[in-house]
């Protein structure tokens, strides 16, 4: 494996992404809103609810509909603390997965379909790399970027969630082990899902926008997880999170295997 060539392509792709506002803005903005702003809104929500003349009873009713496991985990807290932990730790957990998925999708769309649109793919096909090396390089650039953004977002979230909840909880309560599994096991798989879907979509897309819009449907499983948890049908326990990760990894492997079969120089150059 020619790793030097692989990382040269990764470096090229990432440098190009950093120069593209259309790609860079969502990559920065979405994590900032999710991990910087949302913790404060969630932490301040209970007091705002009280100010509005209603009580925390509505949140208590919502929590009462949740699975037993979640209620047990929330039991040691006061009702106001429960509402914060419920939102910051459990409700926002599926949303965390949107970030690696979105970052990987955007960069993969730019790296695969965008490169063809910019007519720069041909010179890359004449490089001393095998089809496999080229494919791995393209995957790595979007995957590594997604992991870095997800980890940075997680660190931001740790700071913001604890800061926002400090007045109510009076201690560092976040992250718990479920989040560690989510960040280290599930979010790389979510990134893999985003990029592998985009690899398949990019093969037929006309350009970056086309690929990104078509591949946007990949976010649907994450929305399902969010609604599943909000409705009380499930909750993000360590084991549930572990199995979600396992399923995503299996899907990733299948999609990447299929993507590698269609990622052939001859096929790519014939479409230029």
């Amino acid at each position: 494996m020619n790793w030097r060539a692989v990382f040269a392509i990764v470096r090229k792709d990432l440098k190009i992404v950093l120069q593209n506002k259309g790609v860079l803005i969502p990559i920065i903005l979405v994590p900032l809103i999710l991990f910087g702003l949302l913790p404060w809104i969630s932490a301040l929500a209970p007091s705002m609810v009280n100010m509005g003349g209603t009580s925390l009873d509505e949140i208590a009713t919502l929590i009462a509909q949740m699975p037993v496991g979640l209620r047990t985990e929330l039991a040691p807290y006061t009702l106001e603390q429960q509402s914060i932990v419920f939102f910051l730790v459990y409700m926002l957990a599926p949303m965390f997965l949107i970030v690696p998925l979105m970052v990987a999708s955007v960069i993969a769309a730019d790296s695969f379909a965008g490169e063809r649109e910019r007519r720069t793919l041909e010179s890359l096909l004449y490089s001393p790399t095998s089809d496999r090396e080229l494919f791995i390089a393209k995957l790595l650039s979007s995957w590594l970027a997604a992991i870095v953004v997800a980890l940075a977002g997680f660190l931001l979230y740790v700071i913001m969630a604890n800061a926002a909840a400090w007045s109510t909880l009076g201690r560092i309560f976040f992250p718990n082990w479920m989040w560690i599994v989510l960040v280290l096991w599930v979010s790389p798989a979510a990134a893999g899902l985003g990029l592998s879907t985009m690899v398949l979509v990019s093969g037929r897309a006309q350009g970056f926008q086309d690929a990104y819009q078509t591949g946007g449907a990949v976010v649907l499983p994450i929305l399902l997880l969010m609604f599943g948890q909000l409705s009380g049908a499930m909750y993000f326990s360590i084991w549930v999170v572990f199995f979600i990760g396992l399923i995503l990894w299996v899907i990733d492997i299948a999609l990447i295997w299929f993507g590698s079969k269609i990622f052939r120089r001859g096929r790519l150059i014939a479409r230029l």
Partner: protein, 317 residues
């Protein structure tokens, strides 16, 4: 005798019903500037893709630098440099970054990269724009940058697809000199795809003329001219008072001439059937008592070869 660098035998590549390259056979020797001429869609770009292992052939065989392009693609491409028809440089990166990344990609020793990049930027007159993004570059600047990128790893065989397209005459001349030097001084083999027949005639040791994916002719430019140019313009200067007699004599020699003579500034220009017709024509004029002061054949060009082949093809169809 130079070693064979490219060996192609009965190579065929189809795209659906269209045969892009049809039973193509030729050899290129080390250090040659080998011209690959043809109209759009003649199969030039497809051949370059096949020879670099980017595209798979449907039949036939090929060896480049003694490697099989399809199976040894990465090793082969590390030793070749390809300038594609459209200068596909990264618009969002600076000129220097474009070269730095590709130097790394092509395995140029790390300690040599900065000097090599600066040397090429300087050679192609891009040093002043090295830190500028390529999106602001003119077509000519992009083409020069793409050429610099092609040369980064000092390839043994260069595939240049229309290297002077979009360049001003001075830059085009500089590129032509570079191609000549690469071959003459560094022993590099250059596979030059071009429409520019004047350029090909000036630069190429041998040329192939392609017609709809098939090899129509191969040889040195001189061989091809002698072989295919069957009409030649000849300037004839005779005694001024014998112009009318000379015109009559020429119009009667239909086996040697094509069309009527043109008279410009007291000189006659006559299209003849070929070089072999010139002595017979002089003999005829002298026999008629005409004083021939000067006779000169216009040198045929590859353009004449190209059109002669094209006419031949059309006549066959």
């Amino acid at each position: 005798m130079s070693a064979t660098v490219i060996h192609v035998e009965n190579l065929t590549r189809r795209f659906g019903d269209n045969i892009a390259v049809n039973d193509l056979s030729f050899e290129v020797k080390a250090g040659e500037v080998f011209g690959f001429l043809g109209h759009n869609g003649a199969g030039k770009t497809t051949t370059v893709r096949l020879l670099n292992g980017v595209l798979e052939a449907h039949s036939g065989s090929m060896r480049v630098l003694d490697l099989d392009p399809l199976h040894d693609g990465p090793s082969l491409r590390a030793r070749t440099g390809v300038l594609t028809e459209s200068a596909s440089v990264e618009n969002r990166l600076t000129a220097r970054d474009n070269l730095l990344i590709y130097a790394d990609l092509f395995g140029v020793p790390r300690e040599k990269i900065p000097a090599r990049v600066s040397e090429l930027l300087d050679f192609f007159g891009l040093s002043e724009h090295a830190e500028e993004k390529v999106e602001g570059f003119s077509t000519g600047m992009r083409q020069r940058l793409a050429l610099a990128r092609t040369l980064l790893h000092d390839p043994e065989v260069l595939f240049l697809d229309e290297p002077t397209a979009g360049l001003d005459p001075i830059a085009a001349n500089q590129v032509n000199e570079l191609i000549a030097n690469l071959s003459a001084e560094k022993g590099r083999t250059v596979f030059l795809c071009t429409h520019n027949l004047v350029e090909a005639q000036k630069l190429c040791d041998r040329v192939v003329v392609m017609e709809h994916g098939k090899l129509a002719a191969i040889g040195t430019p001189l061989d091809l001219m002698q072989q295919y140019v069957r009409r030649l313009d000849v300037d004839i200067e005779v005694a001024p008072d014998q112009l009318d007699i000379a015109l009559d004599a020429l119009s009667s020699a239909s086996s040697l001439t094509r069309g009527l003579s043109r008279q410009v500034n007291g000189k006659l220009t006559q299209t003849v059937t070929g070089r072999d017709a010139i002595p017979s024509l002089v003999n005829l004029l002298v026999q008629k008592g005409i004083h021939v002061y000067h006779i000169a054949a216009h040198q045929p060009s590859l353009e004449d070869v190209y059109f002669a082949l094209h006419r031949e093809k059309e006549a066959l169809q």
